[in-house]
């Protein structure tokens, strides 16, 4: 055995500088890459086959979660009841927005569903979305390739669109604003781009739907790009004071500005002891 190994290494060391050694190695390498690729692709196809069979199981899993966590309000077949709307035809985008931002399931039946820690994890959310999407066609969840806002958006145009379409409820700086009877437009700071997009497509709660005829796909991405710019923009000129405008500015002028000055005036007029 040891003799055979010795002969093998002797063979390599003798012919490694042979003029055919290089092309032979290249050929071997190509062969390895080709075979490896083919095998791998076959394996991937196998995975996809698994996934499509997984889709059915995802839907059934979603149906199960739905029956457990959502049906008490939305009905066993998502047909809606009382305050809870029918979910037939709302699409995967709507489910993803509502569940992944923690709005659904609702914490309480107050004026509107508040953003909170999501109750379901990513897979459960996807299962719910798949189940609801299977009931009737509706806005589908957006893929990452479609949501390439860094590349496809335009910040300046997005700002202009935001001021025209969004600022009347969400505030000029995207800080959110009050609506009637305790409802409100939440702040758009710190929201996942995917969820901003889904909100525009599905119009959750008091928000209108911004269909592609109102804001095209690229325009939606521009809005997202502007929001992300404002979110990450350093506060120019000092502390931002909550970015809510003159109310906090007035409070600071009174408390900090005039407060310090009156304090100094008191000190200046204290009698020396």
């Amino acid at each position: 055995m040891g003799k055979a190994v010795n002969r093998f290494f002797g063979f390599i060391s003798r012919y490694r500088r042979h003029r055919f050694a290089g092309p032979l190695m290249l050929l071997g390498g190509l062969l390895f890459a080709g075979v490896g690729y083919t095998v791998a692709q076959a394996a991937t196809e196998e995975v996809q086959v698994v996934l499509s069979s997984d889709k059915a199981s995802l839907i059934s899993e979603g149906k199960e979660i739905f029956a457990r966590g959502c049906s008490s309000c939305h009905g066993l077949n998502a047909e809606g009841a009382g305050a809870a709307p029918s979910l037939i035809g709302v699409g995967a985008a709507s489910v993803d927005f509502q569940v992944a931002t923690g709005r659904m399931p609702m914490a309480d039946m107050s004026q509107q569903a508040a953003r909170k820690e999501p109750v379901y994890d990513e897979r459960e959310t996807a299962a719910l979305a798949a189940y609801v999407a299977s009931l009737a066609p509706g806005p589908a969840a957006i893929t990452n390739e479609e949501l390439f806002w860094e590349r496809d958006g335009n910040t300046a145009e997005g700002g202009e669109l935001f001021r025209t379409n969004c600022a009347m409820c969400h505030n000029l700086a995207g800080q959110g604003g009050a609506l009637t009877q305790g409802k409100y437009a939440p702040t758009v700071m710190g929201v996942e781009p995917r969820h901003i997009y889904e909100a525009m497509v599905t119009g959750p709660q008091a928000m209108p739907v911004f269909a592609n005829s109102v804001l095209t796909h690229e325009e939606k991405l521009s809005v997202i790009k502007w929001i992300k710019f404002v979110e990450t923009e350093p506060s120019l000129g000092g502390a931002a004071l909550g970015r809510v405008g003159p109310v906090t500015e007035g409070a600071v002028a009174f408390i900090l500005g005039l407060g310090i000055l009156i304090g100094i005036a008191v000190w200046l007029t204290t009698k020396a002891r």
């Binding site: 969400h170 305790g182 405008g245 109310v247």
Partner: protein
Amino acid sequence: MSARERIAGGTASFIDERTGAAKWMKKTLTKVFPDHWSFMLGEIVMYSFVILLLSGTFLTFWFDPSMREVEYEGSYEPLNGIKMSAAYASALHISFDIRGGLLMRQIHHWAALIFMAAMVVHMMRVFFTGAFRKPRELNWIIGVALLTLGIVEGFLGYSLPDDLLSGTGIRIAEAIIQAIPVVGSYLSYFIFGGAFPGEMFIQRIYAVHILLIPGIMLALITAHLMLVWYQKHTQYPGPGRTEKNVVGYPLMPVYMAKAGGFFFIVFGVTAFLGAVAQINPIWIYGPYNPGQIGAGSQPDWYMGWLDGLVRAAPPIETHAFGITISWNILIPGLIIPGIIFTLMAFYPFIEQWMTGDKREHHVLDRPRNNPNRTAIGAMSLTFTLVSLINGGNDLLATHFDLAINQIMWFSRIGLIALPPLAFVITKRICLSLQRADREKVLHGRETGRLVMLPHGEFIEVHEPLSPEKAYVLTAHEQLPALEIGEADANGVANPQGLKGKLRARISKASQEQISKPTSKEMLELEDGHH
């Protein structure tokens, strides 16, 4: 004589021989001012005004007061290529491309807020201590004029950058102008040179903001100070302080040092705020476009109470003879502020009418010793505060999880119910404080030391007040209510009739006091008759 003294003396006599200033200077420099922190509030106002003039001049170097449409190409990328007015573009240019420009803009704006805040607090001091009484009524009216001009001036300055937030404010101002019956729409066309927004208003308010109003204010401030100089400063009651003297320090060197130093302190605090706290970030708001609006749009605080009144107004309109009258704008936007400012300006005379006291006063009142005036002040402040709160109702709603409708109803009811309540409560507090003062004068200060007497009784040791302190607590005079009989001794009916009766009632209510210890009571105490 040292070289320095020779030069100083030489300069002084050079000026004196040519202007005769030495005599005037001698008199002026030794003028005495009383010392109290609340007398420096007016100084904060004046110094803020100087800061506003200086920083404002800096801003005019680059500000382009024009509504010409330009396409922005500057350092602030998210607005590149956006169409805007030249005014807004130049405000961005000042903020991002001029060295120190943003700092100056922020100093200018902070100084404006502090200017108005200090003016209001100064006015409160003058009101609550009765410093507006004869002979200072005219100076009070000048002060009210300055407050009004300050509000207008601040509002115009806030509007100049032509950003989306301030444009919204101008739009509301236009609505208020249009609410004036009959002439409103004509007036609006006249002011804006056509339909809103037109192409004129930035140029126009710029001229008014940097020239007309500051000029008038400067003249009024000068008159205000000259009157203070001529009438001499008021002082708080104390031993040795009378209606005929002023106890304090001379202008030179004490007040020169204090006031001069204080100017730099005010400048320093304003510059500090300008350096560390962002104010009016117009680049986030974007350029003004009448088709756009932002939630949570607010005016600066001194306009906030007016905004709050408009927000509280129920939607009432009448249509008659082809004319629409928008009461919902007219009443809160013009009529109520008009009434408030008129009453404020004439308050010195109203008080004279109520009390019948038309004498000169140079010694100030402690607010508790005039419960009626203090209660009126508290009542007015409550009204303004409730409307100011309603001005920020949308922010209160989102930040404190409230419903905007609830806040609005609270304000509507509160605007009517809370001021009278504040009046009653303040008056009661003042009278209680008078009672406490009386106790203190008669029985001394509670020391908190408990002593057990030989027979087992516990008493708290009271320490007699120092004569100075006792003087402060008893120096004020308590005027009797006006006596306006229904008929005189001969049975002739009072010619004033109902008016006289009303005045007698008001006078009686306004003169309600806890009688201060009389000298007889004091003597009895000193004799040991407890």
